[in-house]
């Protein structure tokens, strides 16, 4: 019969009060934990997607839209740019590599991207089966696309214009799947990759007249250019050069991502603050419970002292009660945080949005128990001290 067991016996004796305090603590920890988990998962997901891309170039428009569409494929593109600009930019000595993306169609809500195999290398993609395209109308599926559509090597499908499912279908242009990628944890998993020729072919149709063909080929466009710098110096001059000397727009993923985070961050801060308020409420509720316990249990405490309990033991008993609640509230809070993240993850998968690993548990999360402990300790401090100082003789005499 240790002090811990004694403390637990009192918590068990008033289950509703205990439940209330555990729920309040769990809500506080859960809310704060949820924000941390989502923040971290979204952040690392975006960072993975943007790695190796120094500059996104596309049609004029909102730079954030350019980045969202060009890197994360979460938004529609700002427009198209002439194909000639690719060669022009690739010749620039400041540029190491240019990866073109032609974005026009989708397949069951997943973008079909006309690009070069460099795009797969950018995310260190590896083939789970098959190989890259070597001709038009051959497609490589990202791992999420493959698992969602349950399609594999040799299967055939048609794209539809735009992103919305059920949009106009390019029924006469059938893609054949020649490769499926392993999961990379990046945006690559959610894309269908094809040759740019394929995208042009789908929209141009099979043109046989050489004259007409020459005209159309001269008007070919791409949507986005992903640029890797040859030298860090490029960061200073290249974006400005593109923005002022061409009718294209350049956006720096690092800068735009930070800007985006600052905007989302306000929302995260609000939720975090809400979690803090709930935790403060939990501390107050706990304090009231313990303070009441002092009066209800004055005689019990006196009896414990007659049995030989020291002042410090009485204080420790009350502190232990608070700490048991802190541990329970903290653990349930972590569970709640992951549960909420799992719901959000499920929802984001439905939205074909950024993947979140809701059940990735890190030891750093144990730090989330700290606010729970701090709240419990603050709440228990005064009651414990009062209990320890109580005049036992007077308490006993009053009852007798």
């Amino acid at each position: 019969m240790t002090l811990l067991q004694l403390a637990w016996s009192y918590l068990r004796a008033r289950p509703l009060g205990t439940l209330l305090n555990v729920v309040l603590l769990a809500l506080g920890v859960g809310t704060i934990g949820f924000v941390l988990i989502v923040d971290k998962q979204v952040g690392s997901s975006l960072i993975r997607d943007a790695q190796g891309i120094d500059l996104v170039v596309g049609a004029k428009g909102s730079p954030i839209q350019l980045m969202l569409s060009g890197i994360f494929h979460l938004d529609v593109p700002t427009g198209n740019i002439p194909l000639g600009s690719v060669q022009q930019l690739a010749k620039d000595p400041l540029v190491k590599r240019v990866i073109p993306l032609c974005i026009a169609d989708s397949f069951r809500g997943f973008w079909i991207i006309g690009t070069s195999p460099d795009y797969i290398d950018l995310y260190h993609g590896q083939f789970a089966a098959g190989r890259a395209w070597d001709n038009r109308m051959q497609a490589v599926l990202g791992s999420t696309v493959a698992s969602h559509t349950k399609l594999g090597l040799g299967d055939r499908f048609v794209g539809s214009h735009g992103l919305a499912e059920g949009g106009p279908v390019h029924g006469d242009s059938v893609y054949t799947i020649v490769g499926v990628l392993k999961p990379t944890g990046t945006v690559l998993d959610r894309l269908v990759l094809v040759n740019p020729e394929s995208v042009w072919f789908v929209h141009e149709g099979n043109i046989t007249d050489p004259e007409e063909r020459a005209v159309i080929e001269a008007e070919r466009q791409v949507t986005i250019l992903l640029v890797q710098y040859a030298t860090p110096l490029a960061a200073v001059t290249l974006p400005r050069k593109i923005n002022s000397e061409t009718n294209m727009q350049a956006a720096s993923p690092a800068y735009e991502t930070a800007r985006l985070f600052r905007m989302i961050g306000v929302g995260a801060d609000v939720i975090r603050a809400f979690g803090g308020v709930v935790l403060a409420t939990a501390a107050l509720s706990l304090f009231i419970a313990l303070y009441h316990a002092l009066n209800e249990r004055a005689y019990d405490i006196a009896v414990l002292r007659t049995l030989g309990a020291r002042r410090s033991s009485i204080a420790v008993m009350l502190l232990l009660e608070a700490l048991i609640l802190a541990v329970l509230g903290g653990l349930f809070g972590l569970l709640l945080a992951h549960g909420l993240a799992a719901i959000l993850a499920w929802w984001m998968v439905q939205q074909e949005s950024i993947p979140i690993n809701a059940w990735a548990v890190s030891t750093k999360e144990l730090w989330l128990l700290v606010p729970s402990f701090v709240a419990a300790l603050l709440a228990a401090l005064l009651p414990s001290w009062r209990a320890a100082q109580a005049n036992i003789s007077a308490t006993l005499a009053r009852r007798a």
Binding site: M1, R310, R311, A400
Partner: protein, 218 residues
């Protein structure tokens, strides 16, 4: 077992509520502390238990001057050497009968020993209610468990504060017999503070405290 010398006690330097020049109790003997209400019977019991310290004078229990012990040591000394039975026979309501005995061992810093606790509950005739909570026990059973708890650490002295004041004649007799028989059985000295005249037949030796000094001066 107990030696009280020139003891004065008053709250916060106020008038003395208790004056006792000399009192001694031999091992394995019993005494009834009697006197009018407010004469300081409970105060004397609390002084002997080390719950209060005298303003002046000495209280020596089992050879130990209680004033010489630092507070934590005094608590431990009380837990190990002095058993206390209160008027309400108050048991901790969230613990079973057995756990009430185990917690007494634990807070006195003694090893938790279930077999001793069992033995003591058996000696008081409540071994079949080990796992009952206090509210599930009859008043008589609660009294027995409380006495078993007071004796579980094998004290040499048992202090009882008005143990019979709310009881009818039959229950009074039963509690008195229980206290006397169990203290005899375990070789424990017994001090009962009471104004219950019915006990005088059971315990011949009496310490009569005079009316409170402050009151008599009035």
């Amino acid at each position: 077992m107990i030696r009280v010398e020139q003891v004065r006690f008053g709250y916060n330097g106020g008038a003395d509520v208790l004056r006792l020049d000399e009192f001694a109790l031999e091992p394995e003997s019993d005494v009834l502390v009697v006197g009018p209400s407010g004469c300081g019977k409970t105060t004397l019991l609390h002084l002997i238990a080390g719950l209060l310290l005298p303003s002046s004078g000495k209280v020596v229990v089992d050879g130990q001057d209680l004033s010489e012990l630092p507070a934590p040591e005094r608590d431990r000394f009380r837990g190990r050497h002095i058993g206390i039975v209160l008027q309400q026979f108050h048991l901790l309501p969230t613990l079973t009968a057995l756990q009430n005995l185990l917690v007494a061992q634990s807070v006195a810093g003694l090893p938790v020993d279930r077999s001793t606790a069992h033995t003591m509950l058996r000696a008081l005739g409540v071994e079949d209610r080990l796992n009952a909570y206090p509210h599930q026990l009859s008043v008589g059973q609660q009294q027995r468990v409380a006495i078993a708890r007071a004796l579980v650490n094998r004290p040499k002295l048992l202090l009882a504060d008005e143990p019979t004041s709310n009881l009818d004649d039959e229950a009074c007799e039963a509690v008195a017999d229980l206290l006397l028989s169990s203290t005899r059985q375990h070789a424990v000295s017994l001090v009962i503070a009471t104004h219950d005249m019915r006990l005088k037949a059971k315990i011949p030796r009496q310490l009569a405290l005079p009316r409170r000094p402050a009151q008599s001066m009035r």
